[in-house]
Subunit: 135 residues, 2 copies
């Protein structure tokens, strides 16, 4: 019998890592990934031609620079960067965010460069329940 | 020139409605919707054969009953109910949640019944920026 399913506690998962600009997967949703990241400083201008990208700020403050203007996100605020829109995340203080995007979306989009990192999995991220037999 | 893009403040959006078990769309992510809902009481057992469903608790406490056992979510905790898994959300106190699932996912899945409601859009939910011209 499988163990009882458990939720993903975001604060607990954030406490497990300290590296900046690394995306840590905490859950799967169909062919999407739910990821956490800690940011501080300025990232690189980039875009994702194939997908929108959701940012939700958990702690700190995130500025998403866009050619149309800056979007400033405090905790409890989210923003979806549409596909193809150039953006550059900037955080003056250390900032924790939740990301939702399709599996395989690179953090630097098509820009590449030394900050490019594939998403990593935190232990326990794959907690899923098994469908019970019908009836 | 478009207005500066603005983030979605979850608390501000939650303050705009009070009806229970209604899903209010606050953002689009490709062919997925980001929705808010307020829950109190017991929903109906149902499943979504075609999709996983993400629950993130913002305030209150949500119990997701599964045939494999209950999952109890406090604020800052998320859980993905896999496709095809029967579940029944229950909230003893009023609870606010964020949902992520494909456009058109019905709240009662294949169970139907009087609690079935399509997602509604809160004013301002469609704030999106227009891609800037290349170059």
């Amino acid at each position: 019998m499988p163990e009882s399913p458990v939720p993903v506690n975001l604060a607990e998962r954030l406490a497990r890592f300290s590296d900046l600009w690394a995306q840590k997967k905490v859950a799967d949703l169909n062919d999407y990934e739910i990821k956490l990241a800690k940011l501080k400083g300025e990232f690189v201008w980039h875009s994702h031609p194939e997908t929108d990208e959701l940012f939700l700020v958990i702690s700190g403050r995130l500025t998403i620079r866009l050619r149309a203007g800056d979007v400033v996100l405090d905790p409890g605020e989210l923003f979806v960067v549409p596909r193809g829109v150039e953006h550059c995340p900037v955080a003056e203080e250390e900032t924790a965010i939740l990301l939702v995007e399709p599996v395989g979306t690179l953090n630097t989009g098509t820009a590449g460069g030394p900050m490019t990192r594939a998403a990593e999995t935190l232990d326990g991220a794959a907690d899923r329940v098994t469908p019970a037999p019908a009836g």
